[in-house]
C-alpha cells in the first residue's frame, strides 16, 4: 500500500472527499482522489464515512416535503399582475439586436448587389416598425401574443415610413401584436379587432388594407 506520506497532501485530498462522493470534482481532481484512495486504506475508510453522510443528507432533505400549489399560484398571480401593469417588450422586437443579427449574417463578398438592396430595404423596414413599436410601447409585447380578437399577418411595404405605418394602424384601429414571425419574409401579426369578427367582415377589412399599397406589401387574415 502506498499510503500518502506527505500529510499536507493527504489533508488536501481529504478535503476533496465530499465533492468526490457527490461527483462534482473536475476530472483531474477526481483522478487524484481515486489514486490516493487506491493506495491509502485509512483515507478509504474516511471516504466511507463521507458516503454515509452524503446518503443521510439526501435522506434528510427528501423528507422535507414539497411546497403546496399555493406557491405556484402566488407566483403566477404576481407575474400576471406585473404584466398587466407594465407588459414587457418581446426580445424579437429588440431593434438593435435584430439589425446586428441580420447584418452579421451577411457575407459581403458573396452578396449580390440586388440582395444587398433587398437587405437594406428590410433593415429600413425594421427601423420603421421599431419606430412604431416605440410609439406604441404596449403594442407588441406580453408573455404570449394576445389570442382574443381577429387577426391578420402583414408584410409592410419597404418604402413605408413610421408615420405611414402608424397612420395606417390608427385608421383601422389595429395594433401590432407579434413579429417578425418565424415564417420568413418579415411578417407581422396585427390585431384588427379586440372581439372576434365574422369571417366576411375580416375579409372585407383585409381587402381594404390590401389596397393601401404604399404601406402594405402583403396581408392575409389569420386566426
Amino acid at each position: 500500500m502506498n499510503a500518502i506520506n506527505k500529510e499536507p497532501e493527504r489533508h488536501e485530498i481529504e478535503a476533496l472527499l465530499p465533492w468526490h462522493a457527490a461527483g462534482t470534482l473536475s476530472r483531474r481532481d477526481a483522478d487524484r482522489v481515486e489514486q490516493a484512495l487506491a493506495g491509502d486504506r485509512e483515507l478509504a475508510r474516511r471516504y466511507d464515512l463521507v458516503r454515509e453522510e452524503l446518503a443521510e443528507t439526501i435522506h434528510l432533505n427528501e423528507t422535507l416535503g414539497a411546497p403546496s400549489a399555493r406557491a405556484m399560484e402566488k407566483l403566477f398571480a404576481a407575474i400576471d399582475a406585473e404584466e398587466a401593469r407594465a407588459p414587457r417588450r418581446q426580445r424579437s422586437f429588440d431593434f438593435g439586436s435584430r439589425v446586428s443579427e441580420f447584418l452579421s449574417s451577411l457575407a459581403p463578398r458573396t452578396l449580390a448587389w440586388s440582395a444587398t438592396a433587398a437587405a437594406v430595404a428590410i433593415v429600413l423596414q425594421a427601423v420603421v416598425i421599431a419606430a412604431v413599436v416605440v410609439k406604441e410601447p404596449g403594442a407588441a409585447s406580453g408573455p404570449s401574443a394576445p389570442s382574443d380578437g381577429s387577426f391578420a399577418v402583414v408584410r409592410f411595404a419597404p418604402q413605408a415610413t413610421a408615420n405611414d405605418i402608424t397612420n395606417f394602424l390608427g385608421a383601422y384601429k389595429a395594433t401590432l401584436v407579434e413579429g417578425p414571425l418565424n415564417m420568413g419574409g418579415q411578417l407581422y401579426r396585427i390585431r384588427l379587432s379586440e372581439t372576434k369578427l365574422p369571417k366576411d367582415e375580416v375579409g372585407k377589412i383585409v381587402r381594404q388594407m390590401q389596397s393601401e399599397s404604399k404601406v402594405v406589401g402583403f396581408i392575409a387574415a389569420r386566426d
Binding site: H59, N61, S92
Partner: protein, 186 residues
Amino acid sequence: MQSTSDEVLIGRIANGDRLAMQVLYARYHVRVFRFVVRIVRDDSTAEDLISEVFLDVWRQAGRFEGRSTVSTWLLAIARFKALSALRRRPDEELDEETASAIEDPADDPGTALEKRDKSAIIRKCLMGLSAEHREVVDLVYYHEKSVEEVAEIVGIPENTVKTRMFYARKRLAELLKSEGIERGWP
C-alpha cells in the same frame, strides 16, 4: 428525448414566455424549497420565499449572463431572500426554533427506539449542525454543488468553502460521538 436546457428556458423567460417559466419552476421548485426551508425552518415562509425567488427570475432573466449555472443562480437568490427573511424575524423566535431543532427528544419512547438506528442518529445530528455548517453540507451533498459554485452561492472564497465543510464534518463527528457513535475521525 433531451429536455430544453436551463439556459434556453431563461432566454425564453426573458422574452416573457410563461410556459418556459412553468417548466423552470417545475424543474427546481422542490429543491429551492428544501434549501430555503432548511434555512428558515418554516414551510409557510419557505413557500412565500420561493414565489419571490421565481418572480425575481421572471424579472431578471434578461440579465442572466450564464456565468454560473441556472440552479446556482436560483440558490443564490433563494439564500439571499431566506437570510433577509430571517433577519426580519424576532431573535426570540429564532432561538426557540434553533433550540427545538437540536433538542434531545430522549424522553419519547418512539424516539428512543429510533436512536438505535444509526441512520436516524446521523440525520438528527445533521439537523443539529449550525446554520452555516448545515448550509454547506446541504449544498455539497444534496444540491451537488462544486467548490466554486458553493463559493458563489454563499459568497465566500473557495478555500473557505473547503475549510467550512471540513469543520462541519468535524462538528458532525462530535455530535455523533455524544450520541454514542464513535467514527474514529477526526
